[in-house]
Amino acid sequence: MTVTDKEYETAFGQPLRRKEDAHLITGQTRWVDNLSAPGMLYAAYLRSPMAHAKIRVNTEAAKSYPGVVAVYSAEDFGAAQAVIPDAWTVHPDMKKPVMTPLATDEVRYAGEPIAVVVAETRYQATDALEAIEVDYDPLPAVIDLEAAIGDDSPLVHSSIGTNTCFYIESPGEAYAAAKAQAEADGGVVITRRFLQQRLLPTPMEPRAVLVVPTIDDLTVYASTQIPHVLRLLLAMLTGHPEHKLRVVAPDVGGGFGGKINCLAEEIIGVHLAKRLGRPVKWTETRSENFLQMHHGRAQIQDIELAATREGKLLGLKVDLIADLGAGLRLFTAGVPMFGAAMFNAIYKMDAYQFNCRTVFTTMTPTDAYRGAGRPEATFAIERMMDELAAELGMDPIEVRKKNWIEHHEFPYTTISGSIYDSGNYEAATERAVELFGYDELKAEQKARRERGDRMQLGIGVSTFTEACGLAPSRVMGQLGVGAGGWERAEIRVTLTGKIQVVSGSTPHGQGHWTAWSQLVSDKLGVPFEDVELLAGDTATGPQGMDTYGSRSLVVGGSAIVKACDKVIEKAKRIAAHTLEANPDDLEFAAGVFTVKGSPGPQMAFVEVAAAAQLAHNIPDGMEPSLNSAYTFDPINLSYPHGTHLCCVEIDTETGFTSIYRYACVDDVGTVVNPMIVEGQIHGGLVQGIAQALFEEAVYDEAGNLITGTLVDYLLPSAADVPSFLTDRTETPSTDNPIGAKGVGEAGCIASTPAVVNAIVDALRPYGVNDVRMPCTPERVWRAIQGGQSQSGSVAKGGAQ
């Protein structure tokens, strides 16, 4: 059926087609690399081919290459080149080794920028890189996470005397007691080691930066998720005054967390444009992107769970080792801590111990990748719940039911101290079981097992929750994040009643233009078509905290709703004045002010908009404008949840695994546009499935990224994944005016354990209780042959 936008009475909650699509499907795009400026130069970076080495750089020969305008290394900038910023002080004693945009004296990961060439053309800049001479005096690579902790390990940063950034230990008495109880009462204690392999975020648009200087100011066009944060950081780092610095994120081709940093190319880009007085553009190749954009996940998780014989959880203990890579970027140190509160997930228990060691290695720094800490935590607990079920011979859904928070228990304070506002795990699970055909697939699995079929089925469960809507500034302050968590919106009303929404939340594929129009159309009663979005430009929207952590609708959308309320308040005064009524006697619905209980005179919002700006007859002392702004700072995070069920089919002779059926029911609170929500789920599912089955950033012993191109890093194609069965339940959040909970990361968080649980379920008859991710055909085949856990060391880079 064709959806025409006019069929709906209200835009809210409808699957309206996206406003942003027209320019994207016709190629009228504004990716940073599409932009040019008069006199523009091109930059190219020389990157370290070695993981760890002392360096001496000589740029002289490159300077005489054709078209070359300048060549710089760290020494040309001195202290003025600034440092790579970090923004999360997780622990007062954490080690913060300094990294500079261009490596100073020492490189610590393959791909680290060493020097930059600026030339008249793209090709000339790249050509001259070959003429830069670098003496590499090799130092040992630090690749193995556990070995890196040892006293005899070579150091990544000799200046800090250790490879440990910080170690956090929480009190263990309660867990020890829970474990003792389980052992004494004939319960179970299950231990597992899970390896969260390194992943590459891989937005399809690589990073790009164009810096345009004028005599007065500086404009930075960047493929970034965080134009406002980037402006602040660039101002602080380069000394360029913040109010003379404009950052624009034009069309941005995906982010997934990969574009929430401020890296060498942005900082150096500013230096270059200022020094040379000409616009300078740099666009990353995919190979550079794989080396320089931060990586994600990369943890070793030792998990221990204690439960009664009946399957009631007593306690959970988590020992993490997190691979930070070569240094700290904005949120590097915080990612494992963001997951710390989520291991207990939707379950009630009496004891929870969380210990975490974070370690520097000579690999690309890690940071937030879609989910950031929560997929790792969710994977661990959801795998453990299936292991518990298997151990006790129970149905994995039954064991969850015994332990989850019931819908009447909300708001619920979890063992880790989070307050879950609302949820209904029973309803989502019931619907998912139905959608999936759980019993039917169980029966088919049983039949195939009995027949000894070559193609075996496995069923995996994941009943996840996550924390979204980053969020309360006060909480972020307590956690040591060097930023607030509010979001700002401004509603501008033109004389003709059209609306411009200025949003600090910056889109890169999520559909803000459409969803924000739906919010405003619903609130102000103006047509969906009459709303325009201004975002991603610090000149039009000077304040914002940008986009990550599934916060756009929850925080940014709420700011819009609140700003609309202010517009309505103003409009009401003018309408009352015109209608000669008391403002308190006016009602506002569907864009029209009426006097309560009177069929008589009324005034449409567009008329009020005109009256406000003509200002011929508005209340005394009132400003002649309906424009209003609001900065929303929520009181809590939000906690979407859902039940994901995966059935895999495994060819037991080859280990080849495919997804036979995947059904999920997500509860993301109130939904503004179900089409967009579903799309977010689909995309997240495939990223989560990709971690389970395909993707891994593999390093060799010398510290080379051997999956350094899309030839070797297996991003799934359409042929590798199925279509999905999706549905929703709606339990509104009680902590924001929309009731939204966030959806950007849900699919990615939930799906990985569902897939691996399904694989392990299929292989249990072979004595298998774990398969390392990604569960490649080889690993699955070996698991079938060897019949045991595949856990090894993540640090060995996975070249198994």
């Binding site: 059926m1 064709t2 959806v3 087609r17 996206r18 942003e20 699509d21 027209a22 994207l24 499907i25 016709t26 190629g27 009228q28 795009t29 990716w31 690399d33 599409n34 793209r122 090709y123 891989t202 937005p203 399809m204 648009e205 690589p206 069309d251 941005v252 081709g253 995906g254 997934f256 190749t285 995919r286 190979s287 890169h508 594929g509 999520q510 559909g511 089409m675 967009i676 579903e678 799309g679 977010q680 789920i681 689909h682 995309g683 997240g684 599912l685 495939v686 990223q687 191109t709 899309l710 030839v711 991003l715 194609s717 359409a718 042929a719 994944v721 279509s723 999905f724 699919g747």
Partner: protein
């Protein structure tokens, strides 16, 4: 430098180019057809897909000089630039929410058009295999597949189904 003549989106172009210039860089940096983006350096992602002499190709895997005398159609020439004048494939991508960030979209649409030319009525599996050379990181492909099915139905005159 080598002189080449190429028809791009119906317009004839003549330029002197370096022999090593990739067709995609020629289109973007010389002709100004920036609607065709670049997503990789190993010809894996398909973002740069255009039609060359009626066949879809990855324009990063061909040199500009090899295109001499040829006819290139990019996303920008696929249909008119006003909303009422979209190609059915573009319309279907919008209708089915077959794009999020939109970076893969020009290549995906060009590849899908080529697929339907060869197989006007593909099964889901044939669609998935047909666009295997085009990577999308946002959509999970679910809605892209629906979009291609929808375009196939509308182009074969059986009406739009969802």
């Amino acid at each position: 430098m080598v002189s080449i003549n190429v028809t791009v989106d119906g317009r004839s172009e003549s330029h002197d180019v370096e022999p090593r210039l990739l067709l995609v860089h020629y289109l973007r940096d010389v002709v100004g057809k920036v609607g065709t983006p670049i997503g990789c350096d190993t010809s894996n992602c398909g973002a740069c897909t255009v039609s060359f002499n009626g066949q879809s190709i990855k324009s990063c895997s061909m040199l500009a000089v090899q295109a001499d005398g040829g006819d290139v159609l990019t996303i920008e020439g696929l249909a008119g630039t006003v909303e009422t004048d979209l190609h059915p494939m573009q319309e279907a991508f919008r209708e089915c929410h077959g794009l999020q960030c939109g970076y893969c979209t020009p290549g995906m649409i060009m590849a899908a058009c080529d697929l339907l030319k060869e197989n006007p009525n593909p099964s889901e599996a044939e669609i998935r295999e047909g666009i295997e050379g085009n990577l999308c990181r946002c959509t999970g492909y679910h809605n892209i597949v629906r979009a291609v099915q929808t375009a196939a139905a509308s182009m074969s005159g059986t009406g739009v189904s969802s």
